[in-house]
């Protein structure tokens, strides 16, 4: 995953992104995107900085993060295109 989103994508797509930290350090693991009905939609491995990014659409989404021995989830309502941040501290 690139650190910066292509600015052109911010004008057309709903992007959900964030960082997952284990204490002070970036976590190693996975981020999973679920739709409003709870169905799995997509999954990405966290990058070296603990970051993830999804390209979705305006809707209600849940991001669940999995790291060895731990997991956490947060819901977000995305109302328009552009970037929405959802950070995790485990």
């Amino acid at each position: 995953m690139a650190n910066e989103v292509d600015p052109a994508l911010l004008l057309t797509q709903a992007i959900i992104e964030g960082r997952v930290c284990l204490g002070e350090n970036p976590a190693t693991g996975y981020a999973r995107l679920h739709d409003a009905g709870g169905d799995f939609v997509a999954e990405v491995p966290l990058n070296a900085n603990g970051q993830y990014r999804f390209f979705a659409r305006p809707a209600t989404w849940t991001v669940k993060v999995l790291v060895p021995g731990k997991s956490a989830e947060k819901q977000v309502v995305v109302q328009s295109v552009g970037a929405t941040k959802l950070e995790f501290s485990l």
Binding site: D6, L9, T12, Q13, T28, G29, Y30, R32, L33, D35, D39, F40, V41, A42, E43, V44, P45, R53, F54, F55, A56, R57, L66, V67, P68, G69
Partner: protein, 280 residues
Amino acid sequence: MSTALVTTEWALAHLDDAKVVFIEVDEDTSIYETNHIRKAIRLDWREDLQDKVRRDFVNAEQFSELLSSRGIKNDDTVVLYGGNNNWFAAYAYWYFKLYGHQDVRLLDGGRKKWELDGLELVSEVPARAATTYVAKAQDLSLRAFRDEVVSSIGAKNLVDVRSPDEYAGRLKAPAHLPQEGGQIAGHVPTAINIPWSKAANEDGTFKSADDLKKLYADAGFDFNKETIAYCRIGERSAHSWFVLHELLGLSKVKNYDGSWTEYGSLVGVPVAVGDAPGNV
């Protein structure tokens, strides 16, 4: 459990078995360079498995040269694994079967389960002496092409394994990829939507055979009909092909690797949008 699938415990017990070759296949082909299962080699689904000019696979001669150069023998047990819940590893599994490799298996849970279980990953790349591998001609009972898909509308099981938003036409690609592509959105009319992900547990392992049968039955799948599975480029549908053909033992199941990037760009074919399968 099907012999097509091996557990992490089985893998750990066979890491030093000279007749077992572990191969990592990822969507992000750079992950292997960071680390991988000890003694595993890498196949690059794009560079190694696709023709350099046409949109097609390498031919049998090229596949033979590839596996020979990687030190794989015809009688080796090939164990495939990768990220993304084994999407591309399942694709490679189907590809090895297409070219007639006798003993190929998939590591249940793939790279994700291996990582989440905290098992050893290394950066050393193993050296393997070249072999003389001979691939068979493609087994086309496993591979569907566009004309067969069109003629199967309303006749065979067409299974669209993408996410519900892609099936309905609300997204054009999986949500971890930019929503790019010139093709239109939607699905093949009469295709039922059984997302690949419903066959997998959170750790990437496959659900039990009983759960898988119920999943497909509840979605309206007809176990007595021939089946074609598709997704966007054929890798997620290879995961579902593995479920149907290898885990549930259905013999007449094909993967349509052209998938939506081909079908959704064809001129004049019928397309359905929305959450319902649509009509003939």
